[in-house]
């Protein structure tokens, strides 16, 4: 007898709560769109809008910080970002995407719809450049599109490149390969946290963010790094790129 009573109470409770959950869904949220852009500073030619010109040798500030500009081009740019999230004013974290692969040559990878985000006041946009060592293991992502493109050989620590930035410098036939990743198994991935002012309150419509990578800044501030290749086992270079990456490579713009 008792058992039946309890179970009926449980059923009533269940039926009520199942409705409550549905009710929650009716709250409208803002939909978040994301775009990835890449820029070169293009000195001294200031006529362009600084957007990345693939495969064009352009002038840039010399990596050694002098005012004499150096020619360089970008032929290929791939990178992984992970742990993409928003922080709200109460300090809580709203995760948006675990891992995202950007291929500057593939237009479809340059936009990302992150769906709806709940009402809140968001103060920071965060992501990790590259993959955390805890997941950056060889063959850990065999079914992801980046598996073959980004694989980092076990000989050199294993896992996946964070970035493959390749092109020419000085002239058309001298190449640089800026390949960053878990050199010799050391974690050089880093967090980037950008302040934003985003108040999602009811249905705001579409919100879009643009995350821009200023390519030149990989090579300066605080470290002047010259174009080179064969840096995958150069732990000092990897550290310098990490520091430069944390300083001023990324900017974020919010368009509502």
């Amino acid at each position: 007898m008792k058992i039946i009573n309890y179970s009926s109470i449980l059923i009533i409770f269940l039926s009520i709560s199942s409705c409550l959950i549905e009710e929650n869904e009716t709250i409208t949220n803002a939909s978040l769109d994301f775009s990835f852009s890449h820029s070169q500073i293009c000195l001294p030619d200031t006529s362009t809008d600084n957007k990345l010109l693939l495969d064009k040798l352009i002038y840039s500030l010399s990596p050694d910080g002098s005012i004499i500009p150096e020619l360089y081009s970008v032929k290929n740019l791939n990178y992984l970002i992970s742990n993409i999230s928003l922080t709200s004013s109460d300090g809580s974290n709203f995760p948006l995407e675990d891992i995202y692969f950007v291929d500057a040559l593939n237009q479809t990878s340059l936009t990302l719809n992150l769906g709806e985000i709940p009402n809140n006041i968001y103060t920071h946009f965060n992501f990790q450049f590259g993959l955390d060592n805890s997941i950056n293991l060889s063959n850990n992502f065999v079914n992801e599109s980046f598996h073959t493109t980004m694989a980092w050989p076990e000989m050199m620590g294993g896992g996946y490149h964070y970035m493959k930035l390749e092109g020419a410098y000085q002239n058309d036939s001298t190449f640089y390969n800026t390949h960053t990743g878990p050199s010799m198994g050391v974690d050089y991935s880093f967090m980037v946290s950008k302040e934003i002012a985003l108040n999602v309150d009811g249905d705001l419509g579409d919100i879009s963010f643009d995350l821009n990578m200023i390519i030149d800044n990989w090579y300066k501030n605080p470290n002047d790094i010259s174009f080179a290749n064969a840096i995958m086992m150069d732990m000092q270079k990897q550290m310098q790129f990490k520091m430069n990456g944390m300083t001023d490579v990324f900017t974020i713009e919010l368009n509502k």
Binding site: I4, S8, I12, L14, S15, S18, F175, N177, N229
Partner: protein, 366 residues
């Protein structure tokens, strides 16, 4: 009283939310002729077409270590019957105009299903202009032919049969030859449940056979499993291959030893005879880019490159060691162009020795 309250509760549960899924009675078995996607509760009304009731045995693919899941089209699931039928078709010269040339005629198992000739002559004695690709681990390729002109194995298999420099027949003709063979007729019926053998099912069977061509049992694989040791020379070659010293892995990387991408690896300094991917995409930036072949079984697949220009692995290694020839579309990964890798003779030898650890003898003797 208790019973009533229980009824009440159940009723409440059912009606509590309007959005709860409705129960729709019907036939829920997809193999039945009266299956309906609307039904979610089987009421035992399924009817089966007796012809539809053919039996096939699924062909199970075990994904090798470090490989992604194989890309198998929904409408061509692998069956034991399909693979066997495909094997026969692949070896059958009746797929060609004068019944003289089968697929195997250019894709020889002893050569990891490639050809020892630089080019092959088709049934009309016309010489081709590309080296016959090795057929190995094709189920993981995202495009086919050196220039990526076919996107699926089914699509690829349509082409050799009618290609004037290959088998130069018509599909109509091939279909009628096969339909007159009662053995094939029965096998196609048992495999695909069809009453007329058509080109679509011929290429499906061939594609199934090709997907079954998996090779992951080389000395390298055994070494990875800890079953054998590599010699010092082979280990040194492995290190050259997998570091920026030789920098082979950026294109021939992962356990698949290829990247499913197209590159110009510096074979020619402009004036390209074959535009490769550029011919397919129409984009001059793609000129002279070719699909990276796997280097698994590469010992068996000479001559090398899309035009079979190198006859030995030593020549291939010498090409890379030279740094390659500069042209506007050369890949920036060929970063030592004009300088060269500067490997010593011993190191070149080690690299070749490592490439030979990728040979899977069981594959060519199967």
């Amino acid at each position: 009283m208790i019973r009533w309250s229980l009824y009440f509760c159940i009723a409440l549960l059912i009606f509590s939310c309007k959005k709860d899924p409705e129960i729709i009675f019907g036939c829920t078995d997809e193999n039945a002729v009266n299956w309906t996607s609307l039904a979610n509760f089987d009421d035992g009304s399924c009817k089966y077409d007796s012809i539809n009731n053919y039996q096939t045995t699924p062909y199970i693919i075990t994904t090798p270590y470090g490989f992604p899941d194989m890309l198998i089209p929904d409408d061509n699931q692998m069956t034991v019957e399909g693979v066997e039928l495909g094997r026969q078709l692949f070896n059958d010269p009746r797929l060609s105009k004068n019944n003289s040339l089968s697929c195997a005629g250019c894709h020889n198992q002893n050569n990891s299903f490639s050809s020892p000739n630089q080019y092959n002559v088709g049934v009309d004695n016309i010489m081709g202009f590309r080296n016959a690709s090795a057929l190995i681990n094709l189920g993981w390729n995202t495009s086919f032919n050196w220039d990526g002109s076919a996107l699926t194995l089914e699509e690829q298999a349509f082409e050799p049969v009618t290609n004037p420099i290959e088998m130069h027949d018509t599909w109509q003709n091939v279909e009628s030859k096969l339909n007159n063979d009662s053995n094939y007729f029965i096998q196609f019926k048992n495999t695909f449940n069809i009453e007329y053998i058509d080109s679509i099912h011929i290429v499906k069977a061939i594609a199934q056979f090709e997907r079954s061509l998996i090779s992951v049992d080389s000395k390298y694989d055994k070494w990875r499993k800890g079953e054998v040791q590599l010699s010092l020379s082979e280990l040194n070659g492995y290190a050259i291959f997998n570091t920026e010293k030789g920098d082979c892995f950026h294109c021939h990387g992962t356990e698949m030893f290829m990247d499913n991408l197209f590159h110009n690896n510096g074979l020619d300094a402009g004036n390209f005879l074959d535009l490769g991917l550029g011919n397919i995409s129409g984009n001059p930036l793609d000129n002279a880019k070719f699909k990276t072949p796997t280097v698994r079984n590469v010992e068996f697949t000479g001559p090398y490159m899309h035009d079979g220009r190198f006859s030995t692995l030593e020549e291939v290694v010498e090409h890379y060691n030279s740094g390659g020839n500069y042209s506007t579309t050369i890949d920036p990964l060929m970063k030592k162009v004009g300088i060269g890798l500067q490997l010593t003779n011993n190191e070149k030898n080690d690299l070749v020795n490592f490439l030979k650890t990728l040979s899977d003898n069981s594959y060519i003797n199967k």
